[in-house]
Symmetry: C2
Subunit: 330 residues, 2 copies
């Protein structure tokens, strides 16, 4: 293992210090318990949106904290759920009294710890589970489908609604709707290496890929030989089309997401391959996102996320956002 | 080699199609000859800023095309200079009559081909060479110092000036000033694999790193064992401090740039390590950039760039920009 590292036990706080140092006009960080939050929080009369999860998926979630998106993010150790005291302290810090919506990727540890935090929190709160990964049901760490890159879409759209004054009930219903209209599937070309473990999370042969991989390297649908980008795109897209029942009248957001070690040229190629397939189905890509947003440390690979947009969701996607990783509008 | 790929000979056009598809409100692409340009070009009375170079460094340069930055980018094949007809056609497409500034990274092939394009172009034009890499003089592909991530800083600041109406002479002088006040140095933990070659560009042992590496995997100052992130930061920063003669009164832009396969947690850690060293020297980091901007395909590693800002440069850095990779302001 070759990594930039001082002490593996200090990687998380040191990297958070660095990340917040690079974005100090936008973010602050608290330690013991650990969370990253909007410098201008709490925002009066605004529902606070809080997410979190194991580290190693950066820029998710701390890179999505800021006006128009998250109020706080609670990072656990690498690939490890944050603890309830983190979410509780974050809620106490950023809630102005309008309540808190917790956005939780569906992994058993995260679900349990966010539930405990919600029980401990004395203010109004609600939780939404994201489970956009259509590759497998019931995998390592998860009962039911996993929450992956579609979580970013939920966070963006609900973050915009909260910024515009939507109340807790509306934010919660919207998050559920976006999640239900999003589907993702990923493929890994390589494993990833957790710094504290020092060796790859799983073994994979040269010329072999993991179709339907999870963002922690969990097994997917199958091991198979590497095939062309066009063929991979078809195999990634078909289960998404099926799950969303995509038809030729649909307008979608297409997110092609890198897992961390795949060059932009290859991600752009995958965007093109998926785009051609959607063209062939007369599905309109009306919004796009391309890059490394929900990563798996140094894994080579990518995921495809499709969200079926409706006019309200599209408008909220377009609303201003100012975070480290997503930034547009005023 | 495991890569997302159809035909290696078509990777460049297919990936450009995908990149422009994902950014279609912003960009257009021309083929035969190949260049990416602002959808709204040519802009009346505005000096056109054109850059380019071998592919494999994405998002540089096509990801930096848009209002406030480049008017066009000319991508060569991977790690291969674009040909003069590309720069000539781009200039003809985007020049409104106010002239063209070519920003050229200092590699012998690029320098020669941009010079030929400049000679062939009938309009007003000037060229600036970037050579911010302080690691080595006279390396593979280069006479003198190499142009690396500091090129992005030049493109941002000069792009802002051009957008505000600066004439060709002023853009050229400003580009030279920013380049002279920028210094970079990189380190590789791994090699990178050019898709058409199918094997790593160089061999490097486990636990060994290349200090001062170039962005095509060119040799740097030395091979050495991997040391702590703090020690690496110190070794990367010292030659930059020396070259810029940084003192405690200086205000700088710090860019910590990933080479493509290094997780954000590790880049954030490196930002923190360099930040602490600058703190210790009472150098103020007044602007920051952290992420994968000038990559080397799938190389693990990073570079540090420091630019000594003056008030005008800082104001131009803050000016609005709207590109795929950098976006802020109105």
């Amino acid at each position: 293992m070759k990594k930039f590292l001082n002490d593996p036990d200090n990687l998380l706080p040191e990297s958070l210090h660095g990340f917040v140092r690079a974005h100090q006009n936008l973010l602050r960080v608290n330690f013991n318990p650990t969370f990253v939050f909007r410098r201008d929080a709490p925002r009066q009369s605004k529902v606070a949106i809080i997410s979190g999860g194991g580290s190693g998926h950066e820029p998710l979630h701390a890179g999505l904290v800021g006006p128009g998106m998250l109020d706080a993010a609670c990072p656990g150790e690498v690939f490890t759920s944050p603890t309830p005291d983190q979410m509780l302290a974050a809620a106490q810090q950023v809630d102005s009294g309008a309540g808190v919506l917790f956005i939780v990727k569906n992994y058993s540890g995260d679900v349990m710890n966010f539930e405990m935090a919600a029980e401990m929190y004395s203010g109004s709160q609600a939780s939404v589970l994201t489970n956009d990964d259509v590759a497998v049901e019931d995998s390592t760490f998860t009962t039911g489908r996993r929450g992956v890159a579609g979580t970013l879409v939920v966070e963006k759209i609900v973050g915009a609604a909260a910024e515009q004054g939507a109340n807790l009930d509306r934010c919660c219903a919207l998050a559920q709707r976006v999640n239900a209209r999003s589907a993702s599937m990923g493929v890994a070309l390589t494993s990833c290496t957790v710094p504290a473990a020092g060796k790859p999370t799983f073994e994979i042969a040269e010329h072999e890929i993991e179709m339907g991989v999870g963002i922690h390297g969990e097994p997917g649908k199958k091991r198979m030989p590497l095939v062309s980008a066009d063929e991979l795109a078809a195999q990634l897209l078909q289960p998404i089309v099926d799950a969303l029942e995509l038809t030729s009248s649909d307008e979608v957001l297409l997110l092609v997401n890198g897992f961390g070690a795949t060059p932009m040229m290859e991600l752009s190629l995958m965007f093109e391959c998926v785009g051609r397939l959607l063209d062939g189905r007369q599905v309109t890509i009306c919004r796009s996102l391309l890059g490394n947003y929900v990563t798996s440390l140094d894994m080579a690979g990518c995921s495809i996320t499709v969200t079926k947009l409706d006019p309200e969701m599209r408008e909220l996607w377009d609303a201003p956002v100012h975070t480290a990783a997503l930034r547009w509008g005023r």
